[in-house]
């Protein structure tokens, strides 16, 4: 166990250092680097959305608004308050904290309002947020905020992504994580076994908002501008698509969804509008054959991979045996 930890830690440090080097000497084309950063940023966002929409099982549409909070607050801080690039990680963190407060706010209606009604409230939050940002002249109004220092690079995205993954993993194994899964199964039953449902919802919404806010901050510092319209209906649906394509209640699924969708949209760019048609059809097909997403409810671990291949082997074995002797032991 101890050595495993050391190995993975060394690996992380090495990868991060390599990424810093790659970024500094521009060893990889800027376009590919940009795509990789998008994938990382969206993966952090999808992890955040997955906490509420997947693990907690509440259908929320608030992520675009929360992302706007994270993006604007961290951008404003690094533009006006802590302008030195040294503070960049801190600024992103602070953006996440502001988003976390917004998450607490959204969690309050969820105590009482359920299902689609809650979905509308969270959608309302997103749209109110967008409207508010459009009307504040100080943050650029509808034109958006410009000249944000473009501090985001591939290494920082990687670091934040690793932090997000580790945090989510630890959270799911913690006391609140188990309470979250209980809530997802059955809220009343969870309450009966003395799960503090309100507190759990607040914690999950807050944590989810923190991650989404971090991704928003990274996105703003990557593009070096941000605009209220970025965080509208399109972001709401794209976030949902990435979560459900990859798989709900799964870290692997979150990474898979963010990666697949971003690659699809970017790599098939020459196809123009066709790529959206292909993407939509792909999503429908995935939903029909795997209703909880490609990796829904499972994780990619060594044990799972091994058992997956074993299952395939067994399946083939039973097939061949059947065809030869028509024996009845396919259960093995």
């Amino acid at each position: 166990m101890f050595s495993k930890k050391i190995v993975s830690l060394t690996l992380l440090v090495v990868v991060t250092a390599t990424l810093f080097v790659i970024n500094h000497f521009q060893l990889i084309g800027a376009y590919y680097l940009q795509i990789a950063q998008y994938i990382g940023i969206y993966a952090i966002m999808v992890l955040g959305i997955n906490l509420v929409n997947g693990y907690l099982g509440i259908f929320s549409l608030g992520h675009a608004g929360i992302m706007a909070v994270g993006a604007y607050s961290s951008a404003l801080i690094s533009k006006f308050v802590l302008t030195d690039p040294v503070f960049f990680p801190l600024n992103i963190f602070l953006g996440g904290v502001f988003a976390l407060l917004a998450g607490f706010l959204i969690s309050i209606p969820s105590f009482k309002v359920r299902g689609d009604y809650l979905a509308i409230i969270t959608l309302g939050f997103t749209l109110i947020m967008r409207s508010v940002l459009q009307n504040i002249e100080f943050v650029g109004g509808a034109r958006g905020l410009r000249n944000i220092p473009s501090n985001t690079n591939i290494a920082w995205v990687f670091i934040w992504l690793v932090v997000a993954i580790v945090m989510v993993q630890m959270f799911i194994k913690s006391k609140y994580g188990r309470a979250t899964l209980a809530l997802q199964q059955d809220e009343i039953a969870a309450e009966l076994v003395s799960v503090d449902t309100k507190k759990t919802k607040m914690v999950v919404f807050g944590f989810s908002a923190f991650l989404i806010g971090v991704s928003g901050g990274l996105l703003a510092h990557l593009l070096s501008f941000t605009n209220p319209n970025t965080f509208g209906y399109a972001m709401v649906s794209e976030g949902l698509i990435m979560v459900y394509l990859g798989g709900i209640s799964s870290i692997t699924g979150s990474l898979l969804g963010a990666g697949l969708w971003t690659l699809l949209v970017e790599v098939l760019r020459p196809l123009g509008v066709w790529r959206w048609i292909i993407g939509a059809v792909m999503l429908i097909v995935v939903m029909i054959y795997r209703p909880s997403g490609l990796a829904g409810g499972t994780e990619l671990t060594i044990e799972n991979t091994v058992s997956f291949f074993k299952n395939i082997k067994n399946w083939f074995a039973s097939k061949t045996k059947k065809s030869v002797t028509s024996d009845n032991d396919s259960g093995k």
Binding site: R114, Y117, G124, W274
Partner: protein
């Protein structure tokens, strides 16, 4: 006072359209428990069908009302086929799947429709031909346009027809039964698949008529119109209590009231969305299942 009456007329006009759209949302939801996020894009497809058919028909005849009637019927029929087709291909395999999977599928269907139109018809905004003669009335000091009367009258007529259909006909009674308890209904010999198809046909028909009426008041449209309509009609349906016919009508008019009144009262018109959604959130916090929605009691 004149201003007030004029705005009241606008409110009725906008409210009738929102109400029709919310009804479509609500009827499908009532039967399948599916928030059909493709509803707005079905509306968008209907607008395009309306545009092409009416422009084509106008080259043959000058009788506006004839064109209007034929277009409404044909577009409703065509869009109903589309909606039932979508249900069969995309939603039916997911009957036993978790609810959110179907919601996401409907989101994908909406995306598909929108981008199909973008690909094959193009993003340029178009203008629906005016199918109602340009006649103005002067009642007191209020200006009334003929198309406004047509919108309100047609919408009210459709609502009346629909409520008669739901309350009196055999199919309507079967629909209400299925909405209450689809398992029990199917044990009574009601074909659930048939009822679901009927719900989608009704939803699509109402959306097509809504599209026709919307085009009279706001003739410019593009492929992105569906998204906006989608969220507004969803909001109206939820506001009134989703799944409830009367609730959808109430929600539609209430939403229109907020949209019409808030720019009059507010200093800056761009605060409209903030106020509209602020009121909505407030109402839902006080009545968590919409204005007329039934409270769902959860059982363990």
């Amino acid at each position: 006072m004149d201003m007030f009456l004029q705005q009241a007329l606008n409110l009725l006009q906008l409210g009738s359209i929102y109400a029709l759209l919310a009804i479509g949302f609500s009827i499908v939801y009532g039967i399948v428990r599916l928030v059909n996020f493709a509803h707005g894009d079905i509306f968008m497809v209907a607008t395009y069908a309306f545009f092409f058919l009416s422009t084509w028909l106008l080259t043959y005849t000058n009788s506006l009302y004839l064109v209007l009637a034929i277009t409404l019927v044909l577009v409703a029929a065509a869009v109903s086929f589309l909606a039932v087709g979508i249900e069969r291909v995309a939603y039916k395999p997911l009957r036993s799947a978790p609810k959110v999977s179907v919601v996401v599928t409907s989101l994908a269907v909406g995306l598909l429709l929108q981008h199909m139109v973008l690909q094959f018809i193009g993003p340029t905004p178009r203008r629906v031909p005016r199918l109602v003669p340009d006649i103005k009335f002067q009642v007191g000091t209020v200006n009334i346009e003929l198309y406004q009367i047509v919108i309100i009258a047609v919408a009210l007529f459709i609502m009346l027809l629909l409520s008669l259909f739901i309350m009196k006909t055999k199919t309507g009674i079967a629909m209400r039964a299925a909405a209450q308890d689809s398992t029990a209904a199917s044990l009574m010999g009601i074909s659930t698949d048939y009822i679901i198809s009927v719900a989608f046909v009704v939803g699509a028909t109402v959306a097509s008529i809504g599209a026709g009426l919307y085009g009279m008041a706001y003739p410019i449209f593009d492929p992105y119109i569906g998204q906006m309509i989608n969220w507004w009609s969803f909001t109206a349906a939820v506001l009134g209590g989703i799944g409830d016919f009367k609730g959808a009508v109430l929600g539609g008019f209430l939403l229109a009231a907020v949209m019409v009144i808030s720019p009059m009262v507010l200093p800056v018109s761009s605060y409209r969305d903030i106020v509209a959604f602020g009121i909505l959130i407030l109402i839902l916090l006080i009545k968590p299942s919409g204005l007329l929605g039934k409270k769902i009691i959860q059982k363990v």
